[in-house]
Amino acid sequence: MSFIREPRRAQQPFLVLQSSVAQSSLGILRQLLEDSSSHSLLFCLLHPSLLSVNASRVEAFDLLDNVPGYNDNYEEPRHLILSAVKTAPDETLDFVIDSVDTLASDIGSIPQTYEFLCELVSLVRSRPNPSRLVLHILSPSPLLPLLCQTRFSPSLTHTISHPPALLRHLATEYLTLPPPLSPEAKFWGIFLPVSERMHESERLIFGSEGEGAGDDDEMLIEVIVRGDGGDGLRRRCVDRTLQGWSLTRGLGPLPDMVSLRPLFSRTVAEPSAADPTQNVSFNLNLTASQQKSRAQVPLPYMHEGDPGKPQKNPVASAAIFYDPDSADDLDDDDPDEDLDI
């Protein structure tokens, strides 16, 4: 995953990792902290499991007990985060907030949280060495559409995690297999509306047919890159891809995912009609002489005109033959003869 192994911080200084109750992106965040070649500042508000990650490269700020109303020494998280960012060394750094929703609930106002994040992303962009702001957010959140706008950041890398059950659902209910088995345009036309309806994913996981939890080993990652995507060309466009991610193997193509192998191992075979002449205990085939004799049998009720005999009506002309019955009053005279016009 290029935004983990080869992050282009100068072109993509803002990364949003979106989780849902059906599938969490915390595994990706953990891998980002572990595999990053540069140092990170982690502001931990909700997930203590991230505090045990790769301590040498991660400076963690433990804000787990900084809960308003329950901490007599409560410190406003905005001041704490801004102060840490302003006093951070000038080297390339990743600034990670593990739960933007928790930050918003502590601040108590979505507009104020948005203003704070605007200030934060400006600070990160203005650093002498390219750095990056990484936000993890749980959808649905009123902050999410605000953070994805170009007004907040012209360039954006936005990852959305989906459970693998979603692709199995599309293959079963919509008969649409993931690319490359289906054309991309057709797949995205079905995948996007279904994936945006969160209750669909929640029903797949927590409904009567679900397993009760998202897959903790594999997940689908929808990666949306806005701005310079890093392929050597300066592009101003939005690129959307769907990739697989595994806890043990990291990023990989969709066919490599163990949970999706049944979809990709299906052989596309033309359905052939059952041949009734096969597997019977008697012979239904004809020999050549039998076929010849059969072809010579005249079929009844078939008007086979003998081309040698003269036709009764050689010229086929249209004509109406009408036989009047007793009720008809046919008169050959002109009915308008007595008119004096």
Partner: protein
């Protein structure tokens, strides 16, 4: 912790149950097994925070497991906290302060904190934000003391295939280390089998060798006088 599941200590375990499959037996088993695990070199302590306290029932069920709860209350090994204060509005700060002070007095003891249950507060109008802050603060305090936190959350049984995921459940699910579901049998009520239990890993938790039980391979349980008996699906294991 909590046999037959080999859950580690120091976690946040979310236990969800439904009206037709209450998880009372899970709470009793967790607390009584924890108290019984006390040895000469290992002190154990249990703190139960209850929204609808029924201390007499706890004592009666404990007696069936050969635990004298009054004695444990006297020695401080067992603490029962009424979450709702006598004031008109539920204020969770006193309950939190009680837990923090008990955690402070425990020394090096192995502490289990049980919260039962917050859904009642949510349904009676307590803002979800207040409950979320209470759970965050409690989880942080337990983590500092290396105590185990067990939160029981009622979930509504859906009448259709659409699950009912309430706001407090979504928040607790996002925070938990492990999630245990006590579910009714999908085939309906049975006289021999009381229900089934599934165990999931929480989001962000690193796998640590704990055996998980997705719903498709959930283990069955049967309630008896002495507690719950667990057995694998499709086997009787001397239970039935």
């Amino acid at each position: 912790m909590l046999s037959p599941f080999d859950l580690p200590a120091g976690i946040l375990l979310l236990v969800t149950d439904q009206l037709s499959s209450p998880a009372d037996f899970v709470l009793y088993r967790a607390v009584f097994d924890h108290l019984k695990a006390a040895k000469s070199d290992k002190v154990t302590k249990a703190i139960v925070l209850s929204v609808s306290p029924d201390r007499a029932r706890w004592a009666a069920v404990a007696a069936k497991s050969n635990i004298q709860l009054d004695q444990k209350l006297t020695t401080g090994a067992f603490t029962f906290v009424d979450v709702i204060s006598p004031k008109s509005e539920p204020d969770l700060r006193p309950a939190f302060d009680t837990v923090v002070s008990e955690l402070g007095k425990s020394g090096g003891a192995d502490v289990l904190v049980v919260v039962d249950d917050l859904a009642t507060l949510e349904w009676t109008g307590t803002p979800v934000l207040d409950l979320t802050c209470f759970c965050r603060a409690l989880a942080a305090a337990c983590r500092k003391a290396n105590a185990t936190l067990l939160i029981r959350q009622h979930v509504l049984t859906p009448s259709t295939t659409e699950p009912i995921l309430e706001d407090l459940f979504r928040t607790l699910h996002h925070m938990c280390t492990y999630h245990m579901e006590v579910l009714p049998l999908s085939s309906g009520r049975s006289g021999a089998v009381s229900g089934q239990v599934a165990l999931h890993i929480g989001p962000g938790t690193v796998r640590a060798g704990v055996k998980l039980y997705p719903r498709s391979s959930a283990i069955h349980y049967k309630l008896a006088d002495t507690g719950a008996l667990f057995f694998e699906r499709g086997t009787a294991s001397g239970v039935l």
